[in-house]
Each structure stands twice: as structure tokens, then as C-alpha cells.
């Protein structure tokens, strides 16, 4: 057993980037640690790869770093040699040549370009093409599908085969961000509900967005793909090792771009299946809730929770918003207006219309796609009776269901 | 000593420069207008 571990370790250290190795020995991590910084684990290279793509990428990256380091050293060694030898102060008389003369000089002048051509299109090019083909092959032998929807500023995950669907948002408390309390170990890289995936299964990841372009990135998976509104993009992951993997949105997507992490729990398949069953049961219970009549207090409690998770980033926890981009809900004309028209239908540009269908050209998205009937009814009721708004009315999940 | 730039020579050069300048300006406008109608 011991020798086996040793072997794996040697195999891993063979992947270590020579530049990184040099830097690490020159600047041992402890020497760079600043007082007060909580984390000691940082890297001069990619984090440990856990998918075949990430391993291949790291391998290619290391190879390329080696190639360009050699090119850099050789070229500038020649230049520095010249700068030392051919100085005026050392009495060197300047030559007069302006180009290669004679076949031999032409040969030596052209050799570097032949080498570069070989490096570009053979040494680097061929493995790169293979990697691209591998990376883009999302469908062959795919075991399951995960649909990822980016929205300002959270991720929605959907498992089409089992119908499980939920939103995952930043779990780091605002007080940590504003430096009012100590930062936790996974500061900004923690979510309320991580996405769960089985290890050893090829997962085809479909990506889209409801508002602007986001980019789904988990460094240890070696994949990064844009989520584009109105279009479907895809990539794939096959996680080889159970664990918790963290990443972030990588495309500037507005105010809270830095605050929409991706967290993936990779678990063995049985555990995954059990999790899916639990999610289904939960969803069923929640769906049942849509048909019964809710009391106002129940709606307000549920609505507060939904508001803080989904709405507070823009409209602020106190409902004052950040005008003009994010209007205040407190005293809003849209909210302080009749709930529905006389026939119980949605009034255009009313509160219910805005929440369900969004407002084009703004960050206000159509939440009917991402929130359940209960959540929509609860949050609308909550907004109408909070932040100084005193409409006193409420809307039932069943009504929302019929309005969809 | 080399001759001075004559007024006539300079006027001829500047006229040629202006013609070419208008032509390049027209090219810019054409590219801009084509760009507006691009559909992928």
C-alpha cells in the first residue's frame, strides 16, 4: 500500500511545472505569508485536476510552459551575451552587416523559424487539436445531463431526467464581505445549496442564461463555458474523485459578478441517487403546497426567505434599492397599486406582471421561469406588506398557478 | 544645395493627398454601413 501511494505521488510530481518548481524553491510559501491572512495553501500552478479534461489541460500547460521557458532563456541568453560582449566601453568596434550574407548565414538565420514552425504546428498544435476534439465531444457515452442557467447573480441547476431543479446562491454573510466579522475558510466560495454530481459518470452540462452572459467555471474540472441568454452551449465533466469543488462566474455580469460562486459536491453514485430521491420528495411536498390555501403569516415568512435569497442583492434587504439601476420597493408605485384587475387577470406592468415576467432591457428578469408558485405568491405578498408598504392584500399560490 | 520646395509642387502634392484622403474616408463610410447590416 505504502509503495503504491509513493508511486502516485511521484507520478503527480512529474507533472509539476518547472517554472513553478523554481519559483516555489525561490519563494517558499511561508516567506510570502502576510500577517492576518488565513490561508496558506496557494499555488504557482493549476489546482489539482479531477477530470480527464483538467488532467490533459494541466499536462499541455506544463509542456507549453516548459517550451516557452526554454525559448525565453535561449533567446535572451543570446541577447544578454551580446549586451555584455558588444559594448562600446569594452572597445568593441561596430560591425556593418544588415542581413545574412552567404548560404551559411542564411541557414542559421532561417533555422530558428523552422524550429518555431515545428513548435507551433507540430509540438503544440497536434496535442492541442486532439484536446479540442476531446473537449468538444460532449455527447459520446454521456451518462446524464445537467442544465445550468446563469442569472444575475446566482446559478440555477436542473436535472432533466429526474426533474430536480433549484437555485444556488452565495452563502457568505454580508457582514464578512463588509469586514464586520472574520472571514470563513471558504469566503465567497460557498453556496446555500451546492449542485450534486456522481463520480465516474460523464455529465453533459448544458448552459444558458436568463439575462446577461455568465461563465460557468470550476478550475479543477478544467472547463469554462459561457452561459448565453437565448442560446444553449455545452461542455462535459467526468469527476474522478469525490470531494467539494469550488469555482466562480468568470464573465463580468454586473454588480455582483464577484459573488456568484459555483460549488459542486461529487459523491459516489448510490449517495447521488439517494440525494435525487430526497430532492424529488421535497419537490413533491412543495408542489402539494401550491394547491392548498396559505395563511398570510405563512406567506410572509416564506416570502421573507425568498426575498433575501433572490431579490435582496438588487433591491437591498431594506427594500430601498440602488436607484436608478435597481428601483426601491419601499413606497414603489408599481407595488402600491391594485394586485389584479376586476376579472382576476394580470394588469400590464403591475407588481405581479413585473415579478413573473420581468422588465425587458433591465436586470429585472422573468421569475416565473425560476421560482415555484409558492415562492412567487409568497414573495409578492411579502413585498406588498413590508418596507412600509401596507397594501394588506395577498395572493395565493393557486392563483399564480392559474395565471402562468 | 537641393532646391527649395516650390509652391506649385506642394500644391500638387497636397491636392493628390486630399483626393486620396477623401477616397479613404469613403472606404471608412462603406465599411461602417456594411457593418450595420451584418447578420450572422
Amino acid at each position: 500500500m505504502a509503495s503504491c501511494t509513493l508511486e502516485t505521488q511521484t507520478a503527480q510530481s512529474a507533472e509539476v511545472n518547472p517554472v513553478a518548481w523554481l519559483l516555489r524553491s525561490l519563494f517558499p510559501p511561508s516567506a510570502l505569508l502576510l500577517p492576518g491572512a488565513a490561508s496558506a495553501a496557494y499555488n504557482f500552478n493549476f489546482p489539482e485536476p479531477v477530470t480527464p479534461i483538467a488532467r490533459e489541460t494541466l499536462h499541455i500547460h506544463n509542456e507549453f510552459m516548459l517550451i516557452i521557458t526554454v525559448l525565453f532563456v535561449v533567446v535572451f541568453a543570446i541577447m544578454i551575451y551580446s549586451m555584455i560582449k558588444h559594448r562600446k566601453s569594452s572597445g568593441h568596434a561596430p560591425a556593418k552587416f544588415t542581413g545574412p550574407t552567404g548560404a551559411l548565414q542564411w541557414f542559421w538565420a532561417l533555422i530558428p523559424f523552422a524550429i518555431l514552425l515545428f513548435i507551433d504546428f507540430v509540438l503544440m498544435g497536434i496535442p492541442a487539436v486532439q484536446a479540442i476534439i476531446n473537449m468538444e465531444d460532449t455527447q459520446t457515452k454521456a451518462d446524464m445531463v445537467l442544465k445550468v442557467t446563469g442569472m444575475q447573480w446566482k446559478w440555477q441547476y436542473e436535472y432533466p431526467e429526474s426533474g430536480v431543479k433549484f437555485i444556488s446562491t452565495l452563502a457568505t454573510p454580508r457582514d464578512q464581505i463588509s469586514n464586520a466579522e472574520a472571514k470563513g475558510e471558504h469566503y465567497l466560495l460557498e453556496v446555500d445549496k451546492p449542485v450534486v454530481l456522481p463520480v465516474g459518470k460523464k455529465v453533459r452540462v448544458l448552459l444558458t442564461s436568463t439575462d446577461v452572459i455568465h461563465t460557468w467555471w470550476v478550475p479543477q474540472f478544467g472547463v469554462k463555458r459561457d452561459a448565453i441568454p437565448g442560446f444553449l452551449r455545452e461542455t462535459w465533466v467526468l469527476i474522478e474523485k469525490p470531494g467539494i469543488y469550488r469555482g466562480q462566474c468568470a464573465e463580468l455580469c454586473g454588480k455582483d459578478h464577484g459573488f456568484m460562486p459555483v460549488v459542486v459536491h461529487a459523491v459516489p453514485e448510490p449517495e447521488y441517487l439517494a440525494w435525487v430521491e430526497a430532492q424529488k420528495a421535497e419537490a413533491k411536498a412543495a408542489a402539494g403546497g401550491a394547491d392548498r390555501t396559505w395563511s398570510k403569516d405563512e406567506l410572509l415568512a416564506e416570502g421573507k426567505a425568498v426575498y433575501e435569497k433572490v431579490c435582496a442583492a438588487c433591491h437591498q434587504p431594506d427594500g430601498k434599492g440602488l436607484p436608478p439601476a435597481f428601483p426601491a420597493l419601499a413606497g414603489s408605485k408599481v407595488i402600491n397599486a391594485p394586485l389584479l384587475d376586476m376579472n382576476g387577470k394580470i394588469v400590464k406592468d403591475s407588481h405581479v406582471d413585473r415579478v413573473m415576467h420581468g422588465k425587458a432591457g433591465t436586470a429585472m428578469q422573468a421569475f416565473s421561469a425560476s421560482l415555484s408558485d409558492v415562492e412567487l405568491a409568497a414573495v409578492i405578498t411579502y413585498e406588498r406588506n413590508s418596507f412600509g408598504n401596507q397594501m394588506g392584500d395577498m395572493i395565493q399560490p393557486a392563483q399564480i398557478k392559474s395565471l402562468r | 544645395m537641393a532646391p527649395a520646395f516650390t509652391g506649385a509642387d506642394l500644391a500638387r502634392r497636397r491636392a493628390a493627398a486630399r483626393r486620396l484622403g477623401w477616397l479613404l474616408g469613403a472606404v471608412v463610410l462603406v465599411i461602417y454601413l456594411i457593418g450595420l447590416f451584418i447578420k450572422r
Binding site: 459561457d226 442560446f231 | 484622403g21
Partner: protein, 531 residues
């Protein structure tokens, strides 16, 4: 009309309007060059202050100084200011000052166009930064917050800062196109007798290619932002999938301009390098023709590689392979330039005055940009690098070490020619060493931040990125403060200093050194003899 065409030739030297009016109405290429360079220096500090605020925020994890919205505005406007208001005007300033001297012309071909081109810049710069001020008075929500790339639909959703930036970009574009047209027609029509195209100084060649690239690509950018404007206000759906549009179309149009833009910024500097290297090596330029053909090749290649800026947006495998290989192909003509630069130094008799130090520093650090660019072209590895700090480090090695240090090379090289005074060599060398060390302190750690997984354009970050960010911020502040030395050195040199003759540098060759320092009001009244 005929009076206008010979306007400058007919006014005797010294017949100036006084004060501000002189600068508003001047059509003299040297006055306009000076204005471009002064404007550029001022905007360099404006853009620098913006990014120092950003680096201060990033010194430690957590939000200390600003809200994320304001952070997003600073990074985008920093980029636009540095590219359009600092680097491009600096290169245009060089062209205005030096092209007529170098090619033996009395002035630029179209002097009034030249005046216009400059005076469009200050209003554009004001438009770009005005929303910051307006927000202070409660009007609007600040400047462009989408990054300099304007990606739709984020820019469709943004506040009025986007409209200001769209207008500013249009004006800056018109200014650049005017400058480019003037440079092309000057090079084509105003050369001294005997100055054939293959005897043209390499600086003029570099600028000629830049000017053609600007003319080919700026209208596309203008078109893209016009479409953005109509999407925002006039109900079109160019970039809105719900209306049959495509957000990725914007990226195609933007980068069709954006990639050549990199070479637009760099080609004038590449053209300048052989002059400096040859002067301080006291040896003729190596491979003149090879460099000219490389400029042309890079210019042509630059307009067919744009999509490597958004490999992660998803495209068919053949497109990925094509854009990867065409991008890698640029390394060949670029390697020719490196080869020629080093071969020009080889077996020379080198001295290391400040311009030469900056030139050598440029070659080494720009080498890092080129080599990391080569691996960024690889689609598979790019999936990790893209949108991360690795890219931020890469393009600052290209645009600060390549662009701005190249401009500094030119300033130190030509400042004695412009002013007739020698700058302080001691301050210049101090400025060089502080710049090089602090530049690397700032940006080398960002390569590792990117590899470790830190995305770009985030106002706050996870704890594992803390150390490198702290180092980078310290470096940035030293870098920023060091540039005050540069401004001080220029100021002192303009005011006075040891007098220099026309030749200035022992090893300098070319028509520009045959004129006095500073050159007479009308640069060449008699036709120079081209050797």
C-alpha cells in the same frame, strides 16, 4: 481653397496667435504633435489613478473602499482611457512630430484635418469620464460598468454611462480615422525626392500599417456600438435572442476591431525600436526588408484571428482549430522582428542611455507577452486561462511593457530633438529601473493568480488569492508613483537643460537628425537629399 492648401507654407515662422488661440487654431505638425503627447501624458495619469483605486480595493479580501458597481466602472473606463486616450494619442503625437522630419516633408499633408483630429479628443475624454461627476450630483448611476468590451446584453441593460461611452468611442474613432488618413496621404504624397517606399524609415512603415488597420477596423467598432445604441433606445434586436438577434454577434464585431487594435497600439512601437537599437548599437538596422514584410504579414493576420478572444463562448471544432492555428501563425512574423532586433544589437558598439535601457526592457518583457500569447492561443489550455488574471497579466505585458514602455523609449529618444535640451540621464535611469521592477512586481503575481483560478474583474476574492493580490497592489503603487519621475524629467527638459545639436545621439542616422534641435518652424523648406 488654394490658400488653405499652402496655408502653413505661406505663414512665416513666428507669426503666431498668442496664448490659447494659437493652440486651438494651429496647423503646425509639431504643435499638434506636442498637444497629442501632452494630452496623452495627462490621460495616462488619469487612467493610472483609476486603476490605483482598483488595486487599493484589491489589496485585501473584503470590500473596503468602494461598491462593486463603482469598481466595475473604474476597470472599464481605465481600459478605455489607457487605450484610446493615452496610448493611441501618444503614437499619433509621435507620428505628427516625426513623420515630416523623417520623410523630408515641410508638414503633414492635411494640416487642418490634423488640427481637427486632435481637438476631438478632449471632448471625447470629457464624455467618457463625465458620468462619474454626474453621479456625484445624483444624476445617473455612473460611468460605463461593463468593462471596456461593452459585451451585450450587459451593456444593453446598463445605465446612461454606456451611452456616454458609445458617444465617446464614436468621437475617438473619428479622430483616429482622421489621423490615419492624414498619415497615409502624407507618407504617400509628401516624401522627399529619392525616398522610395523601401527607403522609408521603419517607424513610418509601422505607422502606415497601423493607419490601414485603423481604417479597416474602426468603422466596424463604430457600427457595433451604433447597433448597441439602437438596441438600447430604438427597439432593435441585433443582440437580443428574444428578437432574433445574437449576443455573440457583438463579440465578433467587437473583436474584429479589438484584436487588430493590439497591433494598432504596438506597430508604431515596433517601427520605432530598430531606430533606437541601431542608434545605440552604432550599427545599421538588421533585416530592413524582413521587418517591413513582417509588419505587413502581422497586419494581414491580425484581421483574421479575432475569435480567439472568446473561445469559451462555444463554436464548432473547425472554427476553434482555424482560429488557434491562425493565431499561432502570428508568432512567425513576430519572431522575425525579435530576431532582427537582437541581430541589430549583435556585434554593435552598445551604450545604454535611457532610451536603450527602455528598448531592451521592452524586448524582454514584450517577449513574455508574446510567449504567453502563444500558449493562450491553444484552445484547450485557454479554457483555463480565459477570463482569469492570467489574461490580465498577459495583456499588461503586451500593452504596458510593449506599448507604454515603447512610448517611453520614443519620448526619451526624441525629447532632445523636440526641445533642444538633454533630459536628466540620472533621473531617466532611475525611472527605468523603478518601472521595470515595480511592473514585474505588479503583474508577475497575476499570472499565478490566474493559474490558481482567480477570475478577472471581481472586486473581492477568496482568501487563497490574498498574498499575491497584496504584492500586486504594492507593486502597482510603486509603479504609479515612479511615473511622476517621468513627468518631472520631461517638464525639466522642456524648461531647460544642456543644449544639444541636431545630431543628438552619436550613432543616430536619418533625415530627422540633420535638422537643428529643436527643428525650425517649417520642418523642411529645402528638399533634403536622401542617401
Amino acid at each position: 481653397m488654394s490658400t488653405a492648401t499652402t496655408h502653413t507654407a505661406e505663414h512665416p515662422a513666428g507669426e503666431y496667435h498668442g496664448g490659447l488661440l494659437r493652440w486651438l487654431t494651429t496647423t503646425n505638425h509639431k504643435d499638434i504633435g506636442t498637444m497629442y503627447l501632452t494630452f496623452s501624458l495627462i490621460m495616462f495619469f488619469v487612467g493610472g489613478l483609476m486603476i490605483l483605486a482598483v488595486r487599493a480595493e484589491l489589496f485585501q479580501p473584503g470590500l473596503q473602499l468602494m461598491k462593486p458597481e463603482f469598481f466595475n466602472q473604474l476597470i472599464g473606463v481605465h481600459a478605455l482611457v489607457m487605450i484610446f486616450a493615452a496610448l493611441m494619442p501618444a503614437a499619433t503625437g509621435f507620428a505628427n512630430w516625426m513623420l515630416p522630419l523623417m520623410i523630408g516633408a515641410p508638414d503633414m499633408a492635411l494640416p487642418r484635418l490634423n488640427n481637427w483630429g486632435f481637438w476631438l479628443l478632449p471632448p471625447a475624454a470629457i464624455l467618457l469620464t463625465l458620468p462619474f461627476t454626474l453621479a456625484l450630483f445624483g444624476i445617473g448611476d455612473g460611468a460605463l460598468a461593463t468593462g471596456w468590451t461593452f459585451y451585450a446584453p450587459l451593456s444593453v441593460q446598463g445605465g446612461m454611462g454606456v451611452d456616454f461611452a458609445i458617444l465617446a468611442v464614436h468621437i475617438l474613432g473619428i479622430s483616429s480615422i482622421m489621423g490615419s488618413i492624414n498619415i497615409i496621404v502624407t507618407i504617400f504624397n509628401m516624401r522627399a525626392p529619392g525616398m522610395t517606399m523601401m527607403k522609408l524609415p521603419l517607424f513610418a512603415w509601422g505607422w502606415l500599417i497601423t493607419a490601414f488597420l485603423l481604417i479597416a477596423t474602426l468603422p466596424v467598432l463604430a457600427g457595433a456600438v451604433t447597433m448597441l445604441l439602437t438596441d438600447r433606445h430604438f427597439g432593435t434586436h441585433f443582440f437580443d435572442a428574444a428578437g432574433g438577434g445574437d449576443p455573440i454577434l457583438f463579440q465578433h464585431l467587437f473583436w474584429f476591431f479589438g484584436h487588430p487594435e493590439v497591433y494598432i497600439l504596438l506597430l508604431p512601437v515596433w517601427g520605432l525600436m530598430p531606430h533606437v537599437l541601431s542608434t545605440f548599437s552604432r550599427k545599421p538596422t538588421y533585416g530592413y526588408k524582413a521587418q517591413v514584410y513582417s509588419f505587413i504579414a502581422i497586419g494581414l493576420l491580425s484581421v483574421v484571428v479575432w475569435a480567439h478572444h472568446f473561445f469559451t463562448a462555444g463554436m464548432p471544432v473547425p472554427a476553434l482549430v482555424y482560429f488557434m492555428f491562425s493565431t499561432m501563425a502570428i508568432s512567425l512574423p513576430l519572431a522575425v522582428l525579435f530576431f532582427c532586433w537582437i541581430a541589430t544589437m549583435w556585434k554593435g558598439a552598445m551604450t545604454f542611455e535611457t532610451p536603450m535601457l527602455f528598448a531592451v526592457g521592452f524586448i524582454v518583457l514584450f517577449g513574455i507577452a508574446g510567449l504567453t500569447g502563444l500558449i493562450l492561443a491553444d484552445v484547450a489550455a485557454d479554457a483555463q486561462y480565459h477570463h482569469s488574471y492570467f489574461v490580465v497579466a498577459h495583456f499588461h505585458y503586451a500593452l504596458f511593457a510593449g506599448g507604454i514602455m515603447g512610448v517611453m523609449t520614443g519620448v526619451y529618444y526624441w525629447l532632445p530633438k523636440w526641445t533642444g535640451h538633454m533630459y536628466s540621464e540620472k533621473l531617466g535611469k532611475l525611472h527605468f529601473w523603478l518601472t521595470v521592477v515595480s511592473f514585474n512586481l505588479t503583474f508577475l503575481p497575476q499570472f499565478f493568480l490566474g493559474l490558481a483560478g482567480m477570475p478577472r474583474r471581481i472586486p473581492d476574492y477568496a482568501l487563497q488569492f490574498a498574498e499575491f493580490n497584496a504584492i500586486s497592489t504594492v507593486g502597482a503603487f510603486v509603479l504609479g508613483i515612479s511615473q511622476l519621475l517621468f513627468a518631472w524629467n520631461i517638464w525639466c527638459c522642456v524648461r531647460g537643460g544642456p543644449k544639444v545639436d541636431g545630431q543628438v545621439w552619436e550613432g543616430a542616422e536619418g533625415l530627422e537628425w540633420e535638422l537643428s534641435s529643436p527643428p525650425p518652424h517649417h520642418s523642411w523648406e529645402i528638399q533634403p537629399v536622401v542617401k
